[in-house]
């Protein structure tokens, strides 16, 4: 439950159902054992059904990063397959350690001026098996891990913009810095008690701003600063293995159920709603993308279906806890159409966003955030959007979108400029010709 209203409504009810008589009873009967009195009280609030759902949701979101690796990996040339997959894979490693040491604390520690989290959770101090301030019916560790998986996939998404040419060592440094000074603040603003969620009260159920706009804006900065691939525009660079891309899309879709429905932080009706609209939006977006592609280029493609699915999933992300199924058809279908054109714009504007992060995540995320302000219905998530008579919701969404774009674009651009001047961003020309697999990793994908 990423939204305070909801948190209260469901959280409250569940708490009562589970704990009223029972926890009182339990308190008397149980011996306190190895746990402090305080911890006991907390533990007794943990709901096993909620915990089961968030455990598996966390695993599902983790799987999205390898899914993304395949999705992207299939689209590059075969000489770059390992380099591309590695950029996602190593994000799993680097971001995890950063998150445990300081990232979680910056994002979800006690709020400082609505801007950043405090140091209370540094090294996971004060985070434990009991429940914490977020997701009050699940272990705090679990909430931390669930959030971690979001932090991992976000920078991995960006890598699509500079595929086939980025230096591995610089990428590692980029990862650490970007998570720390772009992702953590933004996550805090939206979900950790910062100004976007707590004051502006903009809605972002599962990461339209935090994950998709932030990665899309960063991708735009990266595509502009890193520059085009050698031969881009002159040489055909068709995807080397679309089966990988389709498999990746399927794993993303599968994982997205954890991403969106898990964001209810409970195993309840809200999770079911998020689950359903997520699936529907993805379906509608496939049809939207294929239709427009069919008309425009005379053939509906498999890559189009995969891209449409992802576009729909992106767009429904911020809305999943706030809109109903019929709205999700509209949100998805429009996402499919919009992202198709956004992706095609790239060749007009002349930057090489190699795997279309801007067109899919930037544009799709933006549409989703705005659509939340349009289609949100109080009967679903407690808040109404413009179409249900509440224009303010839309205003809040628009402000939040602009803020996220500006912040992520600017800070990413600065990071990359500095890295460019120090470590350099690109592999050598020779390395690019040879491919990242051999030049950066000394391996080949296929022998």
């Amino acid at each position: 439950m990423r939204n305070f209203n909801n948190e209260k409504r469901y959280g409250f009810k569940d708490k009562i159902l589970k704990s009223s008589t029972l926890s009182l009873l339990a308190m008397f009967i149980m011996n306190a054992g190895a746990f402090a009195q305080e911890a006991e009280a907390a533990v007794s609030q943990i709901d096993k059904g909620d915990t089961a759902w968030i455990l598996i949701s966390t695993a599902l979101v983790m799987l999205m990063t390898p899914g993304l690796a395949l999705f992207y990996g299939g689209m590059v040339r075969s000489k770059n397959i390992l380099g591309t997959v590695m950029q996602s894979f190593v994000a799993l490693a680097v971001v995890t350690i950063v998150w445990v040491l300081w990232g979680y604390s910056l994002s979800f520690g006690t709020d400082i001026n609505f801007l950043i989290g405090g140091f209370d959770y540094i090294g996971l101090r004060n985070v434990g098996m009991e429940s914490g301030p977020y997701g009050t019916t699940i272990p705090h560790y679990l909430f931390m891990a669930f959030q971690l998986m979001f932090a991992i996939i976000t920078p991995a998404l960006i890598t699509g913009a500079f595929a086939e040419r980025f230096k591995f060592s610089s990428y590692l440094v980029f990862l650490v810095i970007w998570i720390t000074i772009v992702y953590c603040p933004l996550a805090h603003w939206v979900w950790g008690g910062g100004w976007i969620g707590a004051k502006l009260k903009a809605l972002d159920f599962a990461g339209g701003l935090v994950v998709h706009i932030s990665s899309g804006a960063a991708a735009l900065a990266a595509a502009l600063i890193v520059g085009k691939r050698k031969g881009y525009g002159q040489v055909a660079m068709p995807p080397h293995n679309l089966v990988l891309t389709l498999l990746g899309a399927a794993l993303l879709w599968f994982g997205w159920f954890g991403f969106n429905a898990g964001s209810a932080l409970a195993s309840n009706g809200s999770a079911a709603n998020a689950f359903v609209v997520t699936h529907i939006a993805s379906a509608a977006a496939i049809l939207g993308w294929l239709a427009v592609e069919w008309i425009h280029k005379s053939k509906p493609t498999a890559l189009g279906a995969a891209s449409g699915a992802v576009a729909g999933l992106v767009a429904i992300t911020p809305a999943a806890g706030f809109v109903g199924p019929l709205s999700s058809i509209a949100i998805g279908a429009i996402a499919g159409i919009l992202c198709y054109f956004a992706v095609n714009l790239k060749s007009l504007l002349s930057y090489d966003d190699s795997l279309d992060v801007v067109g899919v995540h930037g544009v799709g995320g933006t549409w989703g955030a705005i659509a939340t302000g349009l289609f949100a219905s109080a009967s679903v998530g407690g808040v109404s959007g413009l179409f249900f008579g509440n224009p303010q919701a839309l205003t809040a969404q628009i402000i939040s979108v602009i803020a996220a774009w500006l912040f992520a674009f600017t800070v990413t651009a600065i990071i990359l400029k500095v890295l460019d001047m120090t470590m350099g961003l690109r592999v050598t020309e020779e390395g690019e010709t040879l491919g990242l697999d051999l030049s950066e990793h000394g391996e080949r994908g296929y022998s």
Binding site: A236, M237, P238, P239, E293, H296, K297, K299, T301, L303, G304, S307, Y340, V343, N344, S347, D356
Partner: protein, 112 residues
């Protein structure tokens, strides 16, 4: 001895093989190649971007035959590989100076 190199459409390989079997030519080496000629390639679309792929998949046959078999082999291939559509391919004939059978070390016509 002559070497026949034939470029054919991939789906014709079974028919060509059968035609060669019939006239008793059984030593054949094939490989996947790509070609362009009058047939102008195909256009693929990825996320709205069109790529023209100038080369089309073909199969190359390499067959070394004794001089007396040459004409028979050429016409077997030509007839079985023909679809009368553009892109049917070519047959080239080159002269072979020596043939060695690796297994036995035999040389010349016996080794073919």
């Amino acid at each position: 001895m002559k070497k026949i190199e034939a470029i054919i459409k991939p789906f014709k390989i079974n028919e060509v093989k059968a035609a060669l079997d019939e006239i008793g030519v059984c030593g054949i080496t094939i490989s996947d190649v790509k070609g362009c000629g009058r047939q102008k390639g195909i256009t693929e679309v990825y996320r709205g971007a069109e790529y023209h792929i100038p080369f089309i998949n073909k199969i190359k046959l390499e067959i070394v035959v004794l001089d007396e078999m040459l004409e028979k082999a050429i016409s077997a291939i030509q007839q079985s590989a023909q679809t009368e559509n553009i892109g049917d391919g070519k047959i080239f004939v080159l002269n072979v100076e020596e043939v060695v059978r690796i297994r036995t070390g035999e040389r010349g016509p016996d080794a073919v």
